[in-house]
């Protein structure tokens, strides 16, 4: 492995380690919850980067696969005694099966990956705007199915009863693995050819790269990670409805990725940290403003508007995001060697 890549890995995994250590030092449950949510976001955003970053195609469907993972794990882990209440119409075969949350999280990822493998291949032949629009259409389809497949999802109503299993160390460990996988995938044969096709599709095809197949592999990997992230999130909040897997959440994770820089894993990680912490700060500000009674009405929506403005600002100033082309490791090494005398 090149020294630059090792440095990248050390820095990014160091950030994840900090995420586990800081709440322990502070000793606050609230901080721990924030850190856990941030770690879940890391899994989702880095998972999205494996497809979008390498292929150059913005995928709106990612949150849909998160939802599939969350529901798949829910169906398999809600205690059998509670199933009658939570999912009264669940099919007989499934109603009797109960697995531990850890197995549920793995299976959640697997189900999302299988669905992606089954539906996505034809979409992978599309590029540019048509590809983005169809990924959006796929999100709509997944959302609509989640909302109406009452037997499995409890319809648009809240599904409750998931065992609480998502801890900060577990989530951070999975986030760390996902970061390693994303960096390895980027440097892999498929990753390199996919990045070539991202930069110039015609030239890559002229060299012999079969682009739809390359994209398909990345899409399945990305859905697998999204499914795991969704299941983790499900066992964190323990109750949710399909609304949790739609536009607002899509905008947040896309915002994190695009602001950080979608071409790099560093961008995905840094973007997630920045936006998540910015959100917490703004939420605290909103609460403080409302508590102080400085305004006649309640202050709402500051977080969303600031994210939208931040996205616009970054797109104007740095269209590729904060880390547009190079991971943080090689970036630091390059600066270091440039300063050294020749």
């Amino acid at each position: 492995m090149k020294p630059g890549n090792i440095l990248t890995l050390v820095i990014l995994l160091g950030l994840v380690a900090l995420l586990v250590l800081v709440p322990q030092l502070v000793g606050s449950r609230v901080v721990e919850r924030i850190a856990t949510a941030l770690a879940v976001s890391l899994v989702l955003v880095v998972g999205l980067q494996t497809f979008t970053g390498n292929s150059g195609i913005l995928s709106f469907a990612h949150i849909g696969f998160m939802g599939i993972g969350a529901y798949a794990s829910a169906v398999l882990t809600i205690p059998v005694q509670m199933r009658g209440m939570a999912l009264p119409d669940l099919y007989g075969v499934l109603a009797g099966i109960q697995v531990t949350p850890t197995v549920g999280i793995v299976l959640g990822g697997a189900v999302a990956a299988l669905v992606a493998a089954a539906v996505a291949y034809p979409l992978m032949r599309l590029s540019d705007a048509p590809a983005v629009i169809t990924s959006f259409a796929l999100l709509v389809v997944i959302y609509t199915v989640l909302q109406h497949w009452s037997a499995v999802t409890n319809g648009p109503r809240t599904l409750f009863g998931l065992p609480k299993a998502t801890t900060l160390p577990l989530t951070a460990a999975i986030a760390a693995v996902v970061i390693v996988v994303a960096l390895a995938f980027k440097e892999s044969r498929t990753g390199l050819l996919l990045r070539a096709s991202r930069d110039d599709e015609r030239a890559a095809a002229a060299l012999g790269a079969g682009i739809p197949a390359l994209r398909w592999r990345a899409f399945i990997l990305s859905a697998l990670i999204a499914g795991i992230g969704g299941a983790l999130w499900g066992h964190f909040v323990t109750s949710f409805s399909p609304k949790a897997f739609y536009l607002k959440e899509t905008f947040v994770i896309l915002g994190m990725l695009v602001i950080g820089g979608m071409n790099t894993v560093t961008g995905a990680v840094i973007g997630t940290f920045l936006i998540a912490l910015l959100f917490e700060g703004l939420r605290a500000l909103e609460t403080a403003l409302n508590a102080s009674g400085a305004f006649a009405d309640q202050v709402v929506g500051v977080t969303e508007i600031v994210l939208a403005l931040a996205m616009m600002a970054v797109m104007f100033l740095r269209p590729g995001g904060l880390f547009a082309a190079t991971e943080i490791g090689p970036l630091i090494l390059r600066r270091f060697t440039r300063r050294a005398p020749p």
Binding site: A205, A209, T326
Partner: protein, 246 residues
């Protein structure tokens, strides 16, 4: 495979009813250098795109060693041993020079280690070793052109098609390119098809010429006879050019 041939037979291409190529037949054998020339808009690049199947054929056939390329997609054509460069440089801008060249070897199905070996050899040969870790976007124009040729060669093609490789190069750079290209067919046992407007370069480099005008072949043959062909002089070279090269 030394008698391998790339054949484009009676190729026709239409763009929404407009005939861009009207029955062009061109052959390229391994080991030879053929120049494809003609005025702007005569259909040179279209012929290359038709051979690599980046535009659909309205008629005719392209084959390699007698096997038809009909129905193949561009990446499948590439795996039959045809590599090309583009009129406008098309490098992978966010990839390093080494990664650009490696991508070509990997796309042909080569393993990681073998690909990296091939990359190192090509970068050394093309004097690009020091820029191996530079992002392609940061290169000078001349270097970009060289990376593009190195990248095409990393696929170890049987047939290499270069679309204006000397465009934008100064005289010194052209000269280096000329000596490099002239060695390729013998060293790598490949057939080289070159489009360029740099007539002195084409005349010195090519064994045969193929001249297009308005989507049709107006002349083909060895350099001398084409240069004297009245139709060519009329359509392309012009009498002053003929005087200069005579």
């Amino acid at each position: 495979m030394s008698d391998g041939r790339l054949c484009a037979r009676d190729v026709r291409v239409e763009f929404s009813g407009l005939r861009a190529l009207d029955g062009v037949t061109l052959e390229l054998a391994r080991g030879e250098i053929v120049g494809l020339i003609g005025p702007n808009g005569s259909g040179k690049t279209t012929l290359v795109n038709a051979i690599t199947r980046q535009v659909p054929l309205a008629g005719g056939e392209v084959s390699v060693d007698g096997a038809s390329l009909s129905g193949l997609r561009p990446h499948e054509v590439a795996r039959r041993g045809i590599a090309r460069s583009f009129q406008i440089v098309r490098l992978f801008d966010h990839l390093t020079v080494a990664e650009n060249v490696e991508a070509a070897a990997l796309a042909q199905g080569l393993g990681r280690r073998a690909a990296q070996g091939r990359v190192a050899a090509l970068l050394a040969e093309f004097g690009l070793a020091r820029q191996a870790e530079t992002l392609a976007a940061a290169l000078s124009y001349g270097d970009k052109r060289r990376v593009e040729i190195a990248r095409a060669l990393a696929a170890e093609p049987s047939f290499l098609i270069l679309d204006e490789p000397a465009a934008g190069m100064n005289e010194g750079e052209s000269e280096v390119l000329l000596s490099l290209l002239s060695r390729l067919p013998a060293e790598r046992k490949l057939g080289l098809l070159i489009i360029d407007h740099d007539m002195p370069l084409i005349m010195r480099l090519c064994h045969r010429l193929h001249v297009l005008a308005s989507g049709r072949t107006i002349a083909e043959g060895d350099v001398k006879s084409v240069r004297r062909n009245p139709a060519v002089i009329e359509a392309y070279l012009g009498s002053s050019a003929e005087a200069r090269h005579a």
